[in-house]
Amino acid sequence: MAPGAQPVSARPGIAAATCVAAVVLVAMAAVIWRAEALTAFGAAEWQAVRFTLAQALVSALLSVALAVPVARALARRRVPGRAVLVTLLGAPFILPVIVAVMGLLSIFGRNGWLNSLLEAVGLPTMSIYGAHGVVLAHVFFNMPLATRLILQAWQAIPAEQFRLVGQLGLGPWTVFRSLEWPLLRQVVPGAFALIFVICLTSFAVALTLGGGPRATTIELAIYQAFRFDFDLGRAALLSLLQILVAGSAALLAFWILPPLAVQRGMDRPAQRWDGRRAGTRAVDTFWIAFGAAFLLLPLLSVLLSGVGALTQLPASTWRAAMVSLGVAGLSTALLVALALPLAGWLALGRSGALEGVSLLGLVASPLMIGTGWFLLINPVMDPRLLALPVTALVNALMALPFAVRILVPPLRQSLTDYGRLSVGLGLRGFAAWRIVLLPRVRPALGFAAGLGAALSVGDLGVVTLFADPDLATLPLQMYRMMGRYQTEAAAGAAVLLLGMALLLFWLCDQWGRYAER
């Protein structure tokens, strides 16, 4: 490129990346510094590492294994409500963990529907707490994500190929070998890797359903070391372990991660001429019903039990809701301020290698960042005063990899299409962003901001470290209610939280779509 031949420069992006790296590294340094001596690597740490890896592996395997038949059924069937179901498959991504856990408890919990059923027919009941509960929740969250990723690839098979299949009257086995297997080989490893990495840093699920020596993730162990024992040496050691484990996994996974696109137009299945036998049809119907039930029953149950309690929520819950809205707003603003320059920088480069920078947010443990900043702030001022800004910042870092992956492709396209024209007209820097790039990527920006806002409003993570009895976010408030067995109030709060997450996402996404083209 000739000097000045690009409308935007790499500098703001490099600055943003430096900020991100600084927030993470300073926190890490603080943890190590205050830890004085790292605790020796003991059996408990080893157990946490093993459980973290094992649950992520099983969760990713199960999610993908269940997603394949569901995606296959959705790709070739036109059943009523299919479009709605496909849209809802995107919901778990923005669903507050604590709300989902509540829903899962109402189905699989001690007094849940499933156990009532088992009891009625005289079978022994099951407990959701423990390793299998953690895996169940992870599958609940990630099976829909995997289904969407696989379905997206499935629908990218050109309609002509299915026309050919119909023309030649190919059987299901031939279709599988010639069309579906090559496709699965491409998309499944990426979906698996993404889910594996997401599950590695899981905290809220382990906090609510796991615990105990047999079901403690590294992230949860950091929280316990910090909150219960205030054992900084142990917290520091675990933080380093987390970076090592999640970092190496993310680096390996990065090369096969699927691109995240603003997914539109998945609501129409291709015209298919294969798989019309009654048997195949029955199998597909079963899988669609299974997917729908697994996704919808827990949510439905939360809604049913919570709507009634909505009007009787105590004032403290409404206050917590306002706090959460504030955190989400700040977090989204930070996310946009970091993601745009970062994505602009990455879009200038031809290869995606630099995108690794944004992965820092996924790799570094949110709890570690929180702990580090708590230690730094503590001597200077009451860390509870900064609890909410730190929470917002950490939430923004967590959403950053997703936002960057959403923004880079349309930004790169805009620079290819309109970069020369912009430069020729003297549109550079801020003017280029305002007049050319932002309007061009507005749909992607709205989508990314919506994800960020929803993730932040529903996040139950760093805020647990700073826990202040008077200043809780809504997810934290809900968690406390559940701990005190205030089930009804918790259900009401869950409905409120769910509504807030969906509304925030919807508002941002609508803002993006409103763009006049």
């Binding site: 000739a2 549109l427 007049i435 309007p439 083209r517």
Partner: protein
């Protein structure tokens, strides 16, 4: 005067060399086979590819390493000459200043420019609501406001039908004559533009020949150009 001396541009394994002068107000067609380096020449003049060596000057000012908007030249590309999310008036207004908020007198100049290319009253539309020919006119209206001493056209009318293309060429020629700008336009069909240009530059294998008077060159083309144009007798 547009002056190019010992220009060398290297893109991967392709290398282009050029040395020529075009007096102010001259209209020059640039032609040659696909991949010969026509677009690379214009991109180098426009400041979109780095120079390996050599010098480009516009009316005496050395612009070899100036950014594209500070070279005293305006450029229209094969496509993407208008921002689809801006109105026609906003697109045209960017020729005055890189801003969307124009003063009343500037808005009047935009309206005037639009009427000179026959787009009266279409300023509030988005480019998508215009026909292909109207979009080309809108881009020309902006070029008018840019009032650069040199106008570079990289086949901006290639997607138009023959009649529309002829019309746009005539309009461009008229506009350029009015402003006294130097015109360099890439074309695949030099006969088509012959009546609107003075000179012809032939490019082949990265070698840019100096401009020759168009009538003379077309009636008695040198060997390379003759092969490119094809023997009319054999058609």
């Amino acid at each position: 005067m547009l002056s190019v001396s010992d220009l060398r541009v290297k893109l991967d394994s392709f290398e282009m060399r050029a040395s020529f002068d075009v007096p102010q107000g001259r209209k020059v067609a640039v032609t040659g086979p696909s991949g010969a380096g026509k677009s690379t020449l214009l991109a180098a003049l426009g400041g979109y590819v780095p120079l390996l060596d050599g010098r480009i000057s516009v009316n005496g000012a050395d612009v070899s390493h100036a950014p594209p908007d500070q070279r005293g030249l305006a450029m229209l590309f094969q496509d993407g000459n208008l921002f689809p999310h801006l109105t026609v008036a906003q697109n045209v207004g960017l020729g005055l200043r890189p801003s969307l908020s124009l003063r009343p007198d500037e808005r009047a100049r935009v309206a005037d420019s639009l009427s000179r290319v026959g787009l009266d009253g279409l300023g509030t539309r988005k480019p998508a609501a215009l026909s292909g020919g109207q979009q080309s006119r809108a881009a020309l209206a902006r070029v008018l406001l840019q009032a650069a001493p040199v106008l570079l056209l990289d086949e901006p009318f290639a997607a138009l039908g023959p009649a529309l293309r002829a019309e746009m060429l005539a309009l461009t020629s008229e506009v350029v004559t009015q402003t006294g700008a130097t015109l360099m336009m890439v074309t695949h069909a030099p006969q088509e533009v012959a009546q609107h240009v003075d000179d012809l530059i032939y490019v082949e294998n990265g070698q840019v020949e100096p401009p020759m008077p168009v009538d003379q060159t077309l009636s008695d083309p040198p060997a390379g150009l003759r092969a490119y144009l094809g023997d009319p007798g054999q058609v």
